[in-house]
Amino acid sequence: MDIVALRKLLILVAAFLVAGAGMLWLVNQATTGAAQTPQAELWQIASLLHAPGDTTNQTVLSSTVPAAWTLRAEIAQLLAKGENRSEILHVIELQYGPTVLADPSGAGFGLWVWVLPGVALALGLGAAIGYLSKRRDAGAGGSVQAGSGQSELIDAKREEWIEFL
């Protein structure tokens, strides 16, 4: 492969990634600390909780069981008192136990649910790269040019392959 061309491609990909990262930074700057409306913050917190007694895995945001209504009202009260998201989640977890969280926390056995998909993906990528390097045709880099006899053959076969175009 042409080294210069590969370098250009890598520069393009890197530039795109840098632009993406820059955009992320800008977005974070724009949104961190930005005042959410109490209603929007309520829905955000509700989406992180699971109503006790709800036998589905719907969050408090969308659950229709009575406990979900109670929790939404409690969140609204705590927001009105001026408490922030982590404080509210802490209070509710203390009150209802860890199963009120919609997803396991990143501690104890619950950590596994978060870690394993990343590990699996990394292993998959590693295996694919290993497979690629193992099955890479080392001899394929050489130039195979059409000789003079082949050129005639190419012209002779043109009518055949053009049918498939």
């Binding site: 492969m1 042409d2 061309a5 590969l6 250009k8 491609l9 393009l12 795109f16 632009a19 993406g20 955009m23 977005v27 209603q39 829905w43 699971h50 036998t55 589905t56 895995n57 719907q58 969050t59 969308s62 659950s63 229709t64 939404r72 199963t99 919609a102 997803d103 396991p104 056995f109 619950g110 596994w112 649910v113 978060w114 394993l116 998909p117 990343g118 699996a120 993906l121 998959g124 990528l125 295996a127 694919a128 497979y131 690629l132 890479r136 045709d137 394929a140 130039s143 195979v144 040019q145 059409a146 000789g147 082949q150 053959l153 076969k157 055949e160 392959w161 049918e163 498939f164 175009l165």
Partner: protein, 732 residues
Amino acid sequence: MLVGQIGQDSLLVALLLISTVLVLSIVESRRPSVVVSRYLQVLTIAQFLFVALASACLIVLLVTLNFHYQYVVDYTSRSLSPLYRIAAFWGGDAGSLLFWLLVTSAYLLVVRLVRHAGSADLLPIVSAIMALVLLFFAGVLNTVARPFTTLAVAPADGNGLNALLQNPGMTVHPVNLYLGYVGFLVPYAYGMAALLLRRTDALWLQVTRRWTLISWLFLSCGIIYGAHWSYEELGWGGYWAWDPIENAALMPWLAATAFLHSAMVQERKGLLKAWNVVLISLTYLLTLFGTALTRGGLLWSIHSFANGSLGTVFMSFVAFMTLFTVSVLAWRGRDLKGVAQFEAVLSKETGFLMNNVLLIGALFAVLWGTVFPLVSEAVTGSQMLVSGPFYDSVVLPIGVAVIFLMGVGPVLAWRRTDAAHLTAYLAVPFAVAAGVGVLTWLAGYHSVLSLFAYLAATLVCAVIGLEFLRGARARAAITGEGVLLSLGRMIAKNRRRYGGYVVHLAVVLMVIGFATSGAYAKQETANLEIGQTVAIGNYLLTFHGLNTVDKRSGVLLQGSLVVQTAEGKTIGVLDPNVEFFQNGQSPTTNLGLYSTPLADLYVVLDGANFKTGESLFEIHLNPLVSLIWWGGYLYIAGTFVSLWPERKRRRQAWVSAVTLQRERVYKELAELALDHGMGKLGRSGYERTRGQLMGLLNAEPGSEHDLRERLGVQFERQVLAMVEPMGGGEHA
């Protein structure tokens, strides 16, 4: 009672016939014989007819409300409309299993009756595997899940179908899912048969390509229609809740999508042989696992309408099939080792490999999240729930990466791609995507994941647009035809490729719908007195009061809201309601929906005070949801383009293998010329690959002769093997 008895007896006869098909298929696989083959055809037709008869009997019992039968009592009632009485066929455990049996037996019938040019030797093992699966379902229906169980005393009325299932979706969503789930049995059986017979070339992939694509289409339609149903019926404002049963349908879809892409690598290059067998096996085993989840009651779900108790039976079957598959893979694994190699890192083959890594990574995350409650309970003693936020954080970023890859993939050429040309080709699409990203951010849309989804979606659209445009121009330059004519002929002659691009565009439409409605939906809870108004987005909703409507099944409590724009223009009236049932079923909500291409106004009546008339409404403004459904239609259209058979030249079967090989090289040459003309490949890369392909054509005359001889010997052997059991053995 006669109809039920006929149904029950038919199931028993079907069980016996299926057992015979299984035994004879095994016999046929050991000693191919025309006589056995004919017997098998007749038996396959007979088992289908008896299964169909049993199914017809159950439908008759349901439609005529014969309450002497437990199943009819459980899933119908006098107030149920005839359409839903028929739909009750697949509404419960036993009925849905019978429907599964019916579809599988129909598929076996089709497999046995269609022509099998070049793959006839695989048929006995394929039949045996399919009969084995049929035997399991027929066995379950004759023992633990009998649909024709009678009651000593018939009640006056039945329990009725769950109210959530009384939706037109009930006639479409489960049927599509079953057709998809069961369909994957065919490529799986072919994959296993090819492995057992050591025919690990791409033949089984070519034979089953349409089966796989059709099954994938049915499954996709089932998933999309299920999301639509959930959106319109469940009343929580969304369409996808990462519920275990939704995940159960998504997992085989992810595996099948990976398989559809990696199969192309084997067909073209002979690579990923083992991986393809693993993928199709995974797809089929996941459909069984999904059924175990749906019908087994293993996990709580909003979809567990049947409250099934067949978990142990199904999980045992899943374990058996997994063991069988793993054993075959281990036994014949050595035959899957290919000699083909990747020619360059930068190639379409690598793109497909990365696509597979990401799709299977997403599949693993969904599987892990789905089973984690069970795993955590087994390990810690308490069940840890896993809900939407986990999947949103883990699966969606992988999904966005897949979409990015979807943008780069079409530009990669088979065998090798020139980095310089790839850079030049992608510069404009990347610039357009970045521009759209900046504009989106400047417009105030700051959800990071959505922003990346828009970038990826724009990249895909730009690249596909260029593919059509540059492809038509390049073809016109080679053939001398006009650009428009070239565009039409290029699509017609490469339906698989361009149909695939249409499917990619459909996915992009859906992704934009998901990203926008997921990140920018608005939600309000309003407790309104009569005459009060609430504002959401550009809409004003004024409450006009409550009223009740008597229905056959119960009473409807309905709230009326007049919808106006912020400028005061009246749009209409929404009547969200709650339905109360006479038979004691839990009340259900029916939403009020005003749908436009840009946004859906979605209102749910949550509660009401009858004395004051004060009512509680949940109001959602969901932007661009309609793109998801329109994307679904485009998806179907694209798959049909891919499925539509390409015109083939008439050829003699005798030399078909040689002709096919030659045509494959010509097709590659044509595609190569097109890629070069489109600017994906430089002169040197083009000439190098062209030289390799011409080398293959040069070597052909000798191989044609060899092949004729080899086919001749093979043909003679097959004829002898058939003649032998008919008394011709002494001549052999």
